[in-house]
């Protein structure tokens, strides 16, 4: 492995090797990695059960593909390493498609579209320009596109990185940070809760090309095709719209 220059390539090769050997059992049970700390998309209730939009979509896709699925809960910053290492076969955890990630993994077609938007206390006016935000502290989850966006577009902002989105909201709630940037729908859910009552969306979404898809190890062509076919099927037969309506009063595709 030492001679390879491209770092992500090295890992992808290791993963592909793992995959070819793993193909024999892969036919039996499909293991899906998710985070379990990202309401309303994937979360764990007080009985330890996973639920949320991602979980419902995953179950619908598995039913469509006639495959048995099990879920593996994995912390966000290890979710791609976990996929590459073969701890599970697919990541259905509301992951954004990015160029950097594409070098390490393959993505299916999108299953929803994410927009990033700031939230902050109602009592505060935010000037959402790089100059206007200079010196404020903004919370984001570690290893997310939100974290990357604010680091790249607002260099003078003090970015605080959290292990879970929940912890970022906890700190926004106490006033430890001035604003949170996260997926619009995730923020929407929190604003609807009791804890989010004094907070609101600020400005327009800052980023709208954020496609959310299922991540697979590279070279897993059959599984990729199966997932895409199943996605098209549940879009057409109304299953998707049903799940969408369960969580949001508007279409998020």
């Amino acid at each position: 492995m030492t001679g390879l220059r491209s770092t992500t390539l090295a890992l992808a090769v290791a993963a592909a090797t793992a995959l070819s050997a793993g193909a024999a059992w892969a036919q039996d049970t499909l293991r899906i990695g998710t985070e379990g700390a990202y309401p309303p998309f994937n979360m764990v209730d007080e009985n330890g059960n996973l639920h949320g939009f991602d979980i419902d979509i995953a179950n619908a896709l598995c039913a469509q593909m006639e495959r048995e699925c099990t879920f593996v809960i994995q912390d966000w910053d290890g979710i791609i390493p976990g996929l590459l290492a073969g701890k599970y076969d697919a990541v259905i955890a509301s992951m954004s498609v990015t160029e950097e990630r594409k070098q390490a993994v393959d993505f299916t077609d999108k299953y929803w579209t994410n927009k990033l938007q700031f939230i902050a206390p109602k009592s505060v006016d935010l000037d959402l320009t790089p100059e206007g935000m200079a010196g404020t502290s903004v919370g984001a989850q570690r290893a997310t596109i939100s974290a990357q966006w604010v680091e790249e577009n607002m260099p003078d902002v003090d970015v605080k990185l959290y292990d879970t989105q929940e912890n970022a909201y906890l700190d926004l709630g106490t006033g430890r940070i001035d604003a949170v940037i996260a997926d619009k729908l995730v923020n929407y859910e929190w604003l609807e809760s009791d804890a989010g009552a004094d907070f609101e969306f600020k400005g327009e979404p800052v980023y709208e090309n954020d496609l959310i898809a299922i991540a697979l190890r590279k070279g897993n062509e059959d599984l990729l095709a199966d997932f895409n076919a199943a996605l098209t099927a549940i879009r057409e037969n109304g299953t998707y719209a049903e799940i969408n309506a369960k969580y949001f009063p508007f279409d998020i595709y």
């Binding site: 492995m1 220059r5 770092t7 290890g78 390493p81 390490a104 570690r142 430890r176």
Partner: protein, 242 residues
């Protein structure tokens, strides 16, 4: 193993190491300040005096550092009076100070126990001699007991500093970009956990090595009276017996 990745990560990791060192030395200092009165009270024969330091030491040694850190960082902000206090909140708002407060309280508990052992190890005859010379109790404590205990406790204090360096990695769980936090942030971009964590490990090892050497030097310097005096210019000083 990809050496390019390791070298590319180095500047950011060193930046993180600087924060780790700050956390270590500032909390190492405050921990000592907390430990001195605690250990004196803990050594008291009176139950009323030693009960509180006993409970303090028991709590901080009996629970994980991670729990203590989350109690201070996330826990305290649950209370409105903390968030509204003009004195507490500006400090507790900052993850940097939360980490330093937690690490100081934590290491203070451990150092207090080390100092207590050291105070008890001071030969009773020396205290009696000081008293016989007419020294008051407080003078005896300040001039005889504490300096002697400090020398006895030094190696154990050094160990505790190294344990605290390792404990400081938990700062990464409260948004701080210390050496471990920086490594985790880099891995979020390069997906190379083995190389990045190993590089961080090498930096931790280097800091430990320098600390051990530095402490050994101080131990050597403070034990001059216990070493034999060289008899001539050709005679190498004998090894420390401490």
């Amino acid at each position: 193993m990809n050496i390019d990745v390791m070298i590319a990560a180095l500047p950011k990791l060193l930046e993180g190491a600087w924060l780790s060192l700050q956390l270590l030395f500032i909390s190492g200092f405050f921990g000592l300040m907390i430990a001195v009165p605690l250990s004196i009270a803990r050594s008291s024969p009176r139950l009323a005096v030693k009960a509180l330091p006993y409970a303090y030491i028991f709590f901080f040694r009996g629970t994980p550092l991670l729990v203590q850190l989350f109690l201070v960082y996330y826990g305290l902000s649950q209370f409105a009076f903390v968030r509204e206090s003009p004195i507490l909140w500006p400090v507790l708002k900052e993850p940097y100070w939360c980490a330093i407060i937690t690490f100081s309280l934590h290491t203070g508990g451990y150092i207090a126990e080390i100092l207590r052992g050291a105070i008890q190890a001071v030969p009773v005859g020396e205290v009696e001699a000081a008293r016989a010379l007419g020294m008051r109790r407080s003078t005896t404590l300040a001039r005889i007991v504490l300096p002697r205990a400090a020398r006895i406790a030094l190696p154990a204090y050094g160990n505790e500093l190294i344990l605290m360096l390792k404990g400081s990695a938990l700062a990464s769980t409260v948004t701080l970009l210390d050496l471990t936090g920086m490594a985790r942030t880099i891995i979020a971009r390069n997906y190379m956990p083995v190389e990045t964590f190993l590089m961080a490990g090498v930096i931790y090892m280097t800091i430990t090595f320098v600390l051990v050497r530095g402490l050994r030097f101080i131990e050597h310097r403070t034990s001059a009276h216990m070493r034999g005096r060289p008899t001539g210019p050709d005679t190498a000083p004998p090894e420390s017996i401490a």
